[in-house]
Every structure is written in C-alpha cells, then in structure tokens.
Symmetry: C2
Subunit: 388 residues, 2 copies
Amino acid sequence: MFPGIDAGAFAGPPAATAIFTTVLTEGPVSRVALARRLGLSSAAVTKAARPLIDLGYLHELAATERSGPGAGRPASPLAVRAEREFFLGVKITADEVIGVVCDLRAQVHASARRPLDDPDVDAVLTEVDRLADDLFDAFPGDRARVRRLGLALSGDIDRGIGLVRYSPFLHWRDVPLGRLAAQRTGLTVTVENDVKALTAAEHWFGEGVGAESFALVTVGTGIGCGLVVNGRLVSGSYGVAGEIGHLTVDATGPDCHCGGRGCVESIAGTDAIVARARDRTGRPDLTIDEAVALARGGHEQVRAVFTRAGGAIGCGIAAVANLVGPTRIVVSGEGLAAYDLFDSHIRASFERQAFGAAARCPLFIRPLPFEEWARAAAAVSIQSLVVP
Amino acid sequence: MFPGIDAGAFAGPPAATAIFTTVLTEGPVSRVALARRLGLSSAAVTKAARPLIDLGYLHELAATERSGPGAGRPASPLAVRAEREFFLGVKITADEVIGVVCDLRAQVHASARRPLDDPDVDAVLTEVDRLADDLFDAFPGDRARVRRLGLALSGDIDRGIGLVRYSPFLHWRDVPLGRLAAQRTGLTVTVENDVKALTAAEHWFGEGVGAESFALVTVGTGIGCGLVVNGRLVSGSYGVAGEIGHLTVDATGPDCHCGGRGCVESIAGTDAIVARARDRTGRPDLTIDEAVALARGGHEQVRAVFTRAGGAIGCGIAAVANLVGPTRIVVSGEGLAAYDLFDSHIRASFERQAFGAAARCPLFIRPLPFEEWARAAAAVSIQSLVVP
DNA sequence: AATCAATACTTGAAGAAGTTAAATATTCGC
DNA sequence: GCGAATATTTAACTTCTTCAAGTATTGATT
C-alpha cells in the first residue's frame, strides 16, 4: 500500500487503509472520532496512524476549539499531507490527450493537452509520454514525488490488469495499455473507464463524499452513468453497467445507433440534438453551439428540442433512482455547457417519474469544468495507492 | 453468530463465517478448496472449522473419488448438518399468513397457512403466533431446535431493527414488528421486505448462488425487483430500490396508480392485464384465470394483451441489465402461473433492448412454487444466524 | 491556585486470528 | 513396499487489535 521512500513497499494493516481513506475523503478528524467512525479502539488508531505520520502521509493539526461545557483535552485532528505525493491524470479522447498533475487531495497543480491525430496504440502512447513530459515541465513541485499515472478513456476496461478490452472510438481491442504505458513512462499506471473514473473521483473528492450509494450521469455525445452501491463502484458482469443512454424512454422515438428506438441518447445526445435542431430550423449545417445560441435567444422550435432532451435525461435518471436508490445524484458533462437550457426540464421530468420518496434524492446539475476528466484519472491513481 | 447449546453465544472468527457461508451456499467442499476459494491458508480453515464441527453445524463427508493419475490423500469435504437447527418463515399478505419450517439448507419440512381478515397489528400478530403453533404441530423434528422466525411482507422495512416503516396494504406505519413478534412467540425474529427476502433466498439457495451480482424480478399484482450487487443486497436510500414496476416504458401508455403513465406495472401488472382483457372481450367481469384460459385457447385479442405485457416486462428487465449488469436474472412470481404466455415475449423484448453484451445475461423465467415466499422469509432468518 | 471532571491520547500486556513450515495421513501407480 | 501427490493437522511465530491503566490538557469549581 504505502511505499517507503524508496519503493520498499510497506503493507499497512487494514486499519491504516481505513484511517487514511477516511481522513483523505472526509477531511481532518481526531483519532477518537476515527475510532468511533471505523469501529476501532482509539489505541488501534493511535498505533496504525503512527507509521502514516512517520512516512509523511498524515500530520497532526493544531488543537481545535472546545466542545461542551466542562470539556477536556482538545483533539489534535489528523490531516492528509497533500503534497507528500503527486499523480498524473490523463484523459484520452478521440482527438486529444488532456493531462493534469494532482496532489493527494486531488487538487490540480498543473495541466496540459496535446492533439491526437492517429488512433494507433503506439502513436497514442507517444503522445501520452510527451504529455507527461509537458506536465513535468509545468509542475512547480518536486518531480521525484510524482510516481503514478492514471489513464481514463471510454470503453470496456479491466482496471485490475490495465487492459482495454474494447474501445470503439480508438478501434482498440485487448490492448494492455497499463503495461505499455508503464514501460513508456516508467510510472505506476492505472487504467479505468472514463465515466467510472469520474464517478470514483466524485465519490472520494466531490459531491459523493460520504454517500453509501451515489450516481453520476454524464451528458454529452454519449450519455453515461457511473454507480456506487454499498460504497463500491458497480462494474457490470458483461462489460455493461450504467448504460443509461440506451434505456428506452419513448418506444416510438427515433432510431438509435445501438439498434434500439427512442433511447435517451437518441433524444438527448449531442448528435441527436443537432440533427433535430437542423430539422426544425431547416439549416443543414447548424452546429451545436449555434443551436444553443438560438435556444437561448428564444427560438421556440429549438428550445423544444432541449426541453425534450432534458425530459429524456430526467427519465433516465429516474430509472436509476427507482432501481438502485442512490443517496445523491450528480449530473454533469460537456453537454451541460448548455446547462441553463436543461436544468429545470431534467428536474421536472425526474420528479415526475421518480417513484415515491425517490423523488427526494437530491440532484446536483452542473457543467463539467475543463480538465475534470483528467483529474478523475488522477483520482483513480490516488485510489490505487491507498487501496491496492 | 453461532450460539452454543444454550444461548451462550459463540462469536466465531471472520474465517468461520466465511467458511460456513461458503459450505452452506455452495455445498460440500474440502478444506483445501475452501482455503483457495477464500484466500486463506489451509491451516486457518482447519482451525476455524473445528468449533463449527464441534457445535454440530458442519460435519465431514466420506472421502470422495480421486482426481488425477498418481493422486494423493482424498479430501474429506465439509458439509452443513442441515438438521442442526430449524427456522420458521412466514409471509404476511393482505388476506393470509403462510408459513414453513425450514432446515439450515432452506429445505421445507412443514408448512401451514391461516386466513387474515383484520390488518390490525395485534390481530396479525395473533395469527402469526397461531400459525407458529400450527407449524410446530406439523413439524416432525425436535421443536427445541427451532429458535428463529423470519417475517416477510411487502413495504418499506428496516431489517436491521425489525421495523415496518410503511406497509401500504396493511396500512401500517412505523410498527416495530420484530420486537412485537419476538415478545409474542419467544423466538428471535428477523423482518424483511418480501421481494428482498426472495432475492436473498435465491442468492443463497437458488439460481443466484455464486453470482457476484444478481437480479430477481417478481411478476404479479405488482412488479418488483431485488438486486444483489458486489455480493450485497441493494437497499436504496429513500426506501426505494428495485422499483422496476414504475419505470416508464411507454410515455403514451395507460395511467398508473403511482401518478405516472405507461409504467411497466400499468401494462403488465395483473390488474392491468385483467382490465385490458375485459376491454378487448367486452366482458366486464372477466377474471385473470379466464383471461389466461382465453389466451391459451387462442383468443388473439387476449393473447395480444399478454404479448404486450411480456414486452413491458422485458423492457424493465433490460433496464436493470443495462444499468447494473447482473450476472444472472431470475423472473418469477404468481403472475407467472401464466408463464407459457409470457416467456418468449419477455425474452424477445429483453434481447431487443439490452445493450451490447448485456443481452448475453441469462434469464431464468419460471413460476414461483407455493410457499416460496415463506421459505424466503426462513432463508433471511438463516442468514441472520450466520451473518449477524 | 488547587482540585475535579471531562475528554483525548498513549502505553504495555494479553488475546485473537492468521501464517509458515514441518509433520502426518492416505491414496495411486509402479 | 516405495515414491509421488495431495489433504489435513500441528506447533511456533507474526500481526493486528483490544483492554486496562496511565498520561495530557482543558474548563469549571472550590
């Protein structure tokens, strides 16, 4: 789990992992609070925390304010020393690679991007390697503290062995990306599906912190969903999970590339929105940005396209809420640059279709900041350090 | 976990729970195989298994046949002594209580039922108590070995504390059923939602054995779904999970009592089928059995009602497969007495709507034998002994 | 100021649960 | 009967945790 200064791995006791994870995701906590939270004795926390402090992963904060009336000794909360270690995170898309350097708390310290014009494995690896160099150059801290790289891309991925089973947009099959990238960069590499990475990141460092179950929906060209249930990411048995984009919401709707009809994606995917907006305006070369502009400008026909799309997304989200009952749901993605056009329609549709108390599940709808995907890749790398 | 002869609880080590659970759900296994399966040393298995043997929960089977060519000492597989302990299981419906006595392997040894005409808590408890007496009378074994009772009923239930938060058909709110039934019967009581109970039972003793993730769909008056993901039952944060019955499958479909339109239940629920069959035949007093008979007899209009219902169910199941990617799915329920009318339509619809490889998920469609719900309640009670 | 109650943390002995390595048991093929 | 192969047991040891008793630090009370 936690390597010593020089790769001599120090395998911490179970309590150490639990303690570090809790402090990392939930912020500074006293040893006594940790013991209560984790069902351990405070002695166990003291002992398990010591090597983490010695190795520089945790440190003690100054005593905090008192609690009750005749309060006793003040707590010295444990906090993560975020700059103990840094992580590269790279998101691979069809036409570029985007990267960041993050600290242990997933704060971004540098970022960079490079165009990609060849989906060949070797060409992609070269660009990833160059991007890593760019990131090292842009990183103001100690380069020796960067020893891990997380990669995120869409497709069917086996995180355990770093294998890309199938990536439609790169036309890859069974590429051992983890091993190859490790050889190229000399770093310890983790590979994860992009939506799962974003979900894991949000679960540890974002809106999903503390939620036993949690869903993240991404809206863009495709519409995807990552799920955390009982505290664990859902993986799906046949390489399929969170395929919210291909739930049928309108049996009489448009044909979808998946072979079905009226899927969420065939109504609310970026391509579907553009196609429909072109139809309505009679302008065969309309772009998504122009469609958004028209809708914001009050063009009723185009507005209706976004309204319907929001409705379809809300319907898909309601299906998630009805089936797995997450504690919280985040809706995000590039598609939500047009956030204002969607928000209320997603909510209205969700509330209409959520069953009973599921409608109380809070929805966080917000656009996805630049480089967030890359940060998610770094977050997965952080997880791989803590929970191997 | 495992009580000694006289309530003096013996809290076994983690390995003991894992060993017992594995042997119980997967049948006789040698110690070496258990060690491999659970990632333990064989020495640990030997040690942890001994007290389980001493207490009569496990026993050694005679050595089995050899394996390879110059094979060594034959294994003495460990098996569960099913008659070490017995369990009552009772399903509470709106108009009757159905009960069984099961052994540790969830085999039924006796069964009984009583009508229920008053949904009052006290009246129900009285009937449950009488049913328990009936079951004790019908049970041929040693009554002293029956010390636990599982209750299953539909509604929002907190299994941990045996609380019925809300039961629509009994009009109960916040009834501490576990405590009350324990007082009445003198048994250790577990309370669980009926669909979750059935799912747990199927996961431990039925088609779901060995599946990391698993879904059970019940078809009847209501249409429900229980989920096991990453080996654990999904509970849902707002008392909602597995509400497959209220997924929208046809936005232009009939109104549903939940307030939505075109829900699976509003098309494939028993009431919906009867209503539609009445429409089609012009016979306002047609019963479900008559509708089934007409369809089997070849009445095209009524057949179409079942076809559409099967399609809606298949659509709901596909949503489950697309979102959580279970390894296996069982479709069951009273509604499937008309199993032959549904089967192919459910499958066809599922395969059409399942995304990609999710369509490979095997579907087990089969009617629910009598008293299966009660057996599920007993199974939950068994679980509560093994994994407290 | 001294004392007390409350709370947080630490320490050392003891215990539980597991591992490794070596011994024992049982079989098959020769 | 012997040796290779496999299963199980045993004993010594390691690791992790708890328990019980102490130390540390504060606010309130005398």
